[in-house]
């Protein structure tokens, strides 16, 4: 096949920006939609105090208490909860908690998972066997159950904001380490056999240099993808924890899953605003992150990527990635159980 006369490209661009330039048609639409949803989420989290009319734990203002279960009005656009908090403010502040948990969970599991995956794949032998068995064992647990156990172990009754965030984040971390571990290990095993690693060995490079300079940098190709998909799963796990009462207390932080739990009894008495808005927020974030992840996945695969000049029509727009539900339900139990 003829080699295309490509103009020499100096930079390879940032991961997402590069894909955005590359995408066409439906795939581009999906990616942009995902980026917009995610962007709004990030922006809201950044400027939450400016947007929110009240604090997340505010029960009264100068005019006295808000009152419980007030329907949406001029003062409280989205009404108040059974505990007397402003729904809008809690939904907005909830983005901060969600973002903090995502960042802490992903960073922790990313670093630990990548490190042990790299060591395990590169050195092999008994280390590899032990780590694989341990990770498989963790993988075999129902995620939510494991997260609950971890939450109890870690927080031990604490209810501060960061205590809660770390409890949730670390329990999510434990679940996701095996994912990063497996991906990086598999890539490492593959790359270890590549000629350029052997050529580094022949040159006399140390193990550490080979691992960091030659193996790791080539093994991270799929990370942005797992990263985004895991971020959306992290939100769902957090919401699940909150819903079951293992989350963050309302006085120390706003958490959508917890609010949904409190809204359970409201639903039957016709009070819709306390459950709809936190639920919609969860759907928003999960949908945004999943769309980004799924489009990145499609674009990363030359066989699935549709191209500008393709006359044969669009190729398939969605692939099934393990653990990536496209339209995950709201933070109810059913929605959580489907995501694994």
């Amino acid at each position: 096949m003829a080699t295309p006369a490509t103009p020499v490209r100096r930079t390879r661009g940032l991961p997402v920006v590069r894909q955005l330039k590359q995408a066409v048609g439906l795939q581009r639409g999906m990616l942009i939609a995902g980026l917009v949803l995610t962007g709004i989420f990030l922006l809201t989290a950044a400027v939450a105090p400016l947007l929110a009319p009240y604090g997340y734990d505010q029960l009264r203002d100068a005019d006295g208490p808000f009152g419980a279960q007030q329907s949406p009005s001029g003062e409280h656009w989205l009404g108040t909860t059974v505990g007397g908090y402003d729904v809008l403010s809690r939904v907005i502040y909830g983005t901060r908690t969600a973002l903090a948990v995502i960042v802490v969970a992903i960073v922790l599991s990313l670093f630990i998972g990548v490190l042990i995956g790299l060591l395990s794949g590169y050195f092999g032998g008994w280390l590899d066997r032990v780590l694989v068995v341990v990770c498989d064992a963790v993988y075999a647990f129902p995620t939510l159950l494991l997260a609950i156990v971890m939450a109890i172990v870690i927080s031990g009754g604490q209810s501060s904001l960061w205590g809660g965030i770390f409890a949730a984040a670390i329990s999510i971390t434990v679940i996701y380490i095996p994912q990063y571990f497996r991906v990086i290990r598999a890539e490492t095993v593959r790359i270890k056999a590549e000629a350029y690693v052997e050529s580094a060995k022949v040159i006399g490079a140390s193990h550490w240099r080979i691992m960091t300079r030659h193996v790791l940098r080539n093994a991270t190709r799929t990370l942005p993808l797992i990263f985004t998909l895991n971020a959306s799963e992290a939100i769902l796990t957090l919401a699940g924890l909150g819903f079951l009462g293992f989350g963050i207390e309302p006085t120390s932080g706003a958490e959508w899953g917890f609010d949904l739990n409190r809204a359970l009894s409201d639903v039957t008495s016709g009070i819709w605003w306390t459950s709809i808005f936190p639920g919609a927020a969860i759907v928003w974030v999960v949908l945004g992150l999943t769309l980004v992840g799924e489009s990145l996945n499609d674009l990363a695969d030359p066989r699935l990527r549709s191209r500008r000049a393709a006359e044969a029509g669009e190729t398939g727009e969605v692939t099934v990635v393990p653990g990536g539900p496209l339209g995950a339900g709201p933070g109810g139990l059913a929605g959580i159980e489907e995501t694994r």
Partner: protein, 569 residues
């Protein structure tokens, strides 16, 4: 049962390609792979399409079967006529459902890699019968009889029994025979053979070429042969089409083409094919220039009774890759190591570089005994060894620029602080391998195969090694590129005077460069001597067979060699 194979009824061409253009949609935009190619293949004729990689030869041939990916857009007409002349179809415009009928019945394909062309989980007979079932109604017994018959005709011994064997139970050459049987069973008018012998050893290649010749003579099948090996062309083709950058540059009768090529590119292509016997004068000259006492100098590499055994898995017996090999490489000498796949030549190269463990005997590399050596102790020695890998595409880290990759050995051994500080030396090296300095800033995928292999050479020479191991450095390259890389290699060797182990399966290439040639066969060293001795008067039967199997790029000479090969076999 030979009546089931019809003799061609018409003298009309079985394939007529008119103004074929193929464009691919890629990330970088549209790429024209084939442009306005018109070709005809007469019944019972072997048409060879030659050209370097990227010339569009495979795309042209695949489009005959409509086997292009969805990103391809085809224009023009490809008229396929049935062998008995009863119908013809234009593959470009035909419907998908009809295309399925045309494939196999009117034209069939033989792929490059026989081990991947067969499905490993089905018996070979089943796979042949599957093709039959797709195109007609046969009872179980009929289909089986037909499959047995075709297997016998392609030279599979005991076809009644072997029909139920699985692909892994056959050797590479036999697998290719089965793939050819699969193509022949429906008695197509034309077989598209895409590099049918490239993945095979020279001795097996000769057998497969013989079989393809029989396909033409006995079955009356036309063959479109895609190859880059001019020796194969001289051996088998009736007519040759030369392609260059998607266009047809010359089309001629095989004798005419080899005797007086008209196009400039064809001349260049034929000129760059290495021929046996070219290296004799050079070797003599080099031998004469050796200083006195050279023969008693300490060898750079000395193997005595070297054994390398790979442990077997799951109660399978151990595999002895190298079995009692002794040889020596003296300073400044080029030793050519020849053998077919599985002969252990690469294993020896890897053992010298410390990539494979030595399990028996003694191997001394630059004064270090490799049997039982620890990586820690060998690391300082690595500085004095360079290694050039077979595939330049995979031997560079795709994320490092060429300059960074070439600087890697300098940085690792502390000659430079980082890649930036090493840039001066890197530029020198790039210049030495005749690459522009600016190429240092490019990434490996932005270089062609030949350029990459030069960069690979620059990396291997960065520390000024005393010993260079070159493992099939040119086998992944086109002939014209290979010639230039070999020339460069020779120049650098003269200039820098390093000792070299040159591993190759191609006798002609080794002859060009090596002072001495060692022939490996099934892990044992069967013959060793100068090019003149080994190639001029081979002693061992295997060497004789190897030499006779090597097709030479001259139709008349090759015909004579073929006759002598038949006698040997």
């Amino acid at each position: 049962m030979s009546e089931q194979f019809t003799k061609p009824a018409t003298t009309d061409p079985v394939v007529r390609i008119e103004d074929l253009s193929v464009t691919f949609a890629t990330d970088a935009g549209r790429v024209v792979a084939v442009q306005d190619v018109s070709l005809q293949v007469a019944a019972g004729e072997v048409l060879a399409i030659v050209g370097e990689s990227g010339s569009g030869k495979t795309v042209t041939a695949r489009s005959i079967l409509g086997l292009l990916p969805e990103t391809a857009t085809t224009r023009g007409a490809i008229l396929l006529t049935r062998k008995d002349g009863s119908s013809s179809a234009d593959v470009v415009t035909v419907k998908r459902s009809e295309l399925g009928e045309v494939r196999g019945r009117d034209a069939a394909m033989v792929f490059q890699e026989p081990s991947t062309a067969l499905n490993p989980v089905f018996p070979v007979g089943w796979q042949i019968i599957e093709g039959l079932r797709a195109h007609g109604r046969y009872t179980r017994a009929e289909a089986r009889a037909k499959a047995v018959d075709v297997l016998r005709r392609v030279g599979i011994p005991e076809p009644e029994k072997r029909i139920d064997s699985y692909p892994h139970q056959f050797s590479g050459g036999q697998k290719q025979r089965i793939v050819i049987a699969q193509a022949l069973v429906l008695d197509p008018g034309v077989i598209i053979a895409d590099e049918p012998t490239t993945a095979l050893d020279v001795t097996v290649q000769a057998e497969i070429l013989d079989l393809l010749r029989r396909c033409r003579d006995e079955f009356g099948t036309a063959i479109v042969l895609i190859t880059h090996n001019m020796g194969v062309v001289a051996d088998l083709a009736d007519r040759v089409a030369v392609m260059y950058q998607g266009q047809l540059v010359e089309q001629a009768d095989v004798r005419t083409l080899f005797a007086n090529p008209r196009d400039e590119y064809t001349k260049q292509l034929l000129g760059s094919v290495p021929r046996l016997g070219q290296g004799v004068a050079r070797t003599r000259e080099r031998a004469a220039a050796r200083p006195a006492g050279w023969t008693t100098a300490t060898p750079v590499v000395e193997a005595r009774d070297l054994r390398i055994v790979y442990p077997g898995r799951l109660r399978k017996p151990d595999f002895t890759a190298v079995d009692g090999v002794s040889f020596a490489i003296r300073p400044g000498e080029v030793l050519g190591l020849v053998g077919e796949s599985g002969s252990g030549k690469t294993t020896i190269g890897r053992a010298i570089a410390g990539l494979t463990k030595v399990t028996g005997g003694s191997l001394s590399v630059l004064g270090t005994e490799m049997n039982g050596v620890k990586e820690r102790r060998f690391r300082p020695v690595r500085e004095r060894i360079g290694f050039v890998f077979q595939d330049p595409a995979s031997s560079f880290n795709p994320l490092l620029t060429i300059a960074q990759a070439v600087a890697e050995p300098l940085v690792v051994h502390g000659r430079a602080k980082d890649a930036h500080a090493a840039r001066g030396r890197v530029d020198e090296l790039l210049e030495a391998v005749q690459l522009p300095r600016s190429f240092g800033d490019r990434f490996p995928h932005e270089l062609s195969g030949g350029q990459r292999q030069r960069a690979s050479l620059a990396r291997a020479l960065a520390l000024g090694p005393e010993l260079l191991i070159a493992d099939e450095p040119t086998s992944a390259l086109d002939v014209s590129v290979q010639a230039r890389v070999l020339e460069l290699f020779d120049e650098l060797q003269r200039e820098l005077g390093f000792a070299c182990l040159f591993i190759s399966h191609d006798l002609a290439v080794v002859d060009l460069l090596a002072d001495r040639i060692a022939v490996l066969y099934r892990g044992q060293l069967v013959e060793e001597g100068t090019g003149e001795q080994v190639l001029g008067a081979p002693q061992h039967p295997y060497t004789q067979r190897l030499l006779a199997s090597l097709p030479v790029p001259d139709p008349d000479e090759q015909a004579a060699r073929r006759a002598s090969w038949h006698q040997l076999a």
